[in-house]
Amino acid sequence: LKSNSQKIIPKIIEGIILPVSRPDFNLRWEMCRNMKEVDADVNFYSIRPLSHEFMNFIDGKRSVEEIASAVGYEYNIKIDEKHVLLLFKDLEKRGLIKLHRREID
């Protein structure tokens, strides 16, 4: 989806309010397993608050990388861009957001 010279910018599709409910059970476990490889502090219950903040930080300007970094600082957890993309690709598949590519200046 992304080359080294590109940033991915998530945008919420007009009229959509992102879900309050937990991400799908299997997706949460997948995110948990992936994130735990980078930071052992992550557990199954981390995924819901982190996912909420991943979604909250979407403003049509911040890149996925910037969102990962902001939420990482908020929770003092190491978060990689690819972890956030696991959720965002699912949201895109469900027609809730669109992932745009932007060339890095």
């Binding site: 992102l18 199954f44 608050p49 909420h52 903040e53 909250n56 970094s69 600082y73």
Partner: protein, 568 residues
């Protein structure tokens, strides 16, 4: 050091009154739409009317008139339930009277005489492989579960809806937290769990780990039959959100909310604590106004109470709520746990940092100001020692804060955690502490009244708090950076690169924190329209930028000095 507003609240707010409300409510099973939740709402309504709020009303749902017609749900009431072994011996396991958490919500009733069926152990019971090759139609499944509510849901769906069992029995204990809360040291705890679907095909019981182990051992010797009796009803649900209003005198369109939920299990003292404090807050504020100790608030204060999730949703649907007009919503969950009995702490789960607001800094500052309980040996008046734990953690969606956050309403959540009796039959009102209820009320009511009455001077005060807290965070990060770099040079492997990456990481954190603090300062502009205040905010923001750059420079200089030392 408490300010005058905080002193007035400390004098007026009575933790024992909050506790008495909570204790009274724990007599009812309070599932959405149930008789118990309706009695709880009625009890709260009568209290608010007695205190003389400007308006008290209910938003019913589902209702076309209120625009809540799509909030259709299945209500559930329970009168009695029991489970016993009938073969190879006769032995009672548990009952609704003994442990109200044993019957999983939305379980269907049995015939009045009950049903008798064979028990089959499927192990954990959360995956297909646990069930394959077993004949389960017309039988009862025993599943250990995986320590998660979702595991219970999966076990029910597989056992009852896929493999045709009559019902599920589980000794799953969720929210385990070693060493305080594991099945081995809570052998008799029976956890609240819920039937996940509304297909009305079966029922589920939770039993204790002691009982689960007993059944597994019995099954090793031969067939076991259980008798189950359930007197419960599923029905088309109707409910309402209770709203109490103290109308603002100058900016009535701006609002501050107190949100609690009347839903919960029986006894469910944790959730009941939130309702108890919610009622006592209303009394405290009205009493202070009526005594002339505080002026009527400039902004509107609203009290919202109903089923967690759906009740607040009904209110939001029925009103045309503009998020920007809701300055803050204080959300109560389990706000009164006795800290010694529950191994618990009061927690402020911050409003999501993604929503720019001054509210977190103001709450943290107030916690520090009012959390003084005991005298040091060298003083006679000023209490400097904290006895009630009050921790601050990042945003966590435990309750209605998740719904409010999604529509960009700053919503700090107050609850107790960890909690070794959480959602078990043992979380009775005696596990609550009036002093903890009072502490939570002191903090939230102080902050709410400060915001509700804020003019230019109060807004200026809030700005100073945000600026000071922002700078303090820079210092904390720089100290962390120095510690990490010192650890790094005393470790076995040290390199320029690793020092540089620490410096970059912490400088990045300071960028992030600066952005958050500046946005929090900006949010103060929403309180009041005053050019002088706006200029002062601009100056504070400029100062914040300078301190940011200075702190980053100091981190980088420390790295540079270490890099030049002999350690590298």
């Amino acid at each position: 050091m408490m300010n005058n507003l905080q002193k007035n609240i400390r004098f007026e707010l009575d933790g024992h009154k909050a506790w008495q409300h909570a204790n009274y409510i724990t007599q009812w099973m309070r599932t959405p739409g149930s008789t118990g939740i309706k009695r709880t709402n009625q009890y709260a309504r009568e209290a608010l009317e007695k205190y003389g709020l400007d308006n008290v009303y209910e938003v019913k749902y589902p209702s076309r008139e209120n625009g809540t017609q799509d909030l259709v749900f299945t209500g559930w009431d329970v009168n009695d339930a029991s489970i016993e072994i009938v073969e190879p011996e006769v032995k009672a396991l548990t009952s609704y009277a003994e442990a109200p958490t044993c019957i999983q919500h939305w379980s269907i009733p049995t015939p009045p005489e009950g049903i008798i069926a064979e028990l089959v152990d499927v192990g954990i019971g959360t995956s297909n492989s646990d069930y394959e090759g077993k004949k389960l139609e017309g039988k009862i499944v025993l599943a250990a579960g995986d320590g998660h509510a979702e595991g219970n849901s999966q076990a029910y769906l597989l056992a009852v809806e896929k493999y045709g069992a009559l019902g599920l029995v589980t000794d799953n204990l969720i929210y385990q937290q070693p060493p305080f809360r594991v099945r081995e040291n809570h052998p008799d705890s029976i956890a609240l769990l819920r039937v996940p679907s509304r297909e009305e095909k079966g029922w589920a019981f939770t039993i204790s780990h002691t009982q689960g182990t007993y059944l597994r051992n019995l099954l090793k010797k031969g067939p076991v039959k259980l008798k189950v009796k359930i007197d419960a009803q599923n029905f088309s649900g109707e409910d309402s959100e209770l709203v109490g209003v103290i109308k603002g005198t100058e900016y009535p369109e701006q609002e501050i909310w107190f949100v609690a939920h009347s839903s919960g299990t029986k006894p469910g003292a944790n959730c009941a604590g939130g309702v108890g404090l919610w009622i006592e807050n209303a009394r405290t504020i009205m009493s202070l106004i009526n005594q002339g100790k505080i002026p009527r608030p400039k902004r509107t204060i609203k009290f919202l109470l109903g089923a967690e999730g759906m009740g607040l949703n009904a209110y939001l649907k029925s009103q045309n709520v503009e998020s920007k007009n809701v300055i803050a919503a204080f959300v109560y969950c389990s706000v009164g746990n006795d800290q010694a009995l529950n191994n618990s702490s009061l927690i402020l789960y911050k409003s999501a940092e993604s929503i720019p607001s001054f509210i977190n800094d103001l709450c943290i500052n107030t916690i520090e100001q009012v959390s003084m309980d005991a005298l040091p040996p060298f003083k006679d008046e000023t209490r400097d020692i904290q006895l009630i734990r009050f921790n601050v953690l990042p945003y966590t969606p435990w309750s209605d804060n998740s719904r409010l956050m999604r529509i960009l309403i700053p919503s700090p959540l107050f609850m107790s955690w960890p909690s070794q009796y959480f959602h078990t039959q043992f979380l009775t009102a005696d596990k609550l502490d009036p002093a903890v209820l009072k502490r939570c009320g002191e903090v939230t009511t102080s902050v709410a009244l400060l915001i509700a009455g804020a003019g230019v001077m109060e807004s200026r005060y809030i700005a100073q708090i945000v600026e000071a807290k922002g700078k303090a965070r820079f210092n904390e990060v720089s100290i962390r950076a120095y510690n990490e770099m010192m650890d790094n040079i005393s470790g076995e492997v040290t390199s320029e690169d690793s020092l540089r990456s620490i410096s970059e990481l912490r400088q990045g954190e300071i960028d992030y924190l600066a952005e958050r603090s500046i946005e929090a300062l900006e949010s103060i502009r929403g309180l009041i329209d005053d050019n002088q205040l706006y200029r002062e905010l601009d100056e504070l923001i400029e100062k914040m930028q300078k301190v940011k750059v200075d702190t980053q420079f100091r981190i980088e200089r420390f790295r540079s000095l270490l890099s030049r030392s002999d350690n590298i």
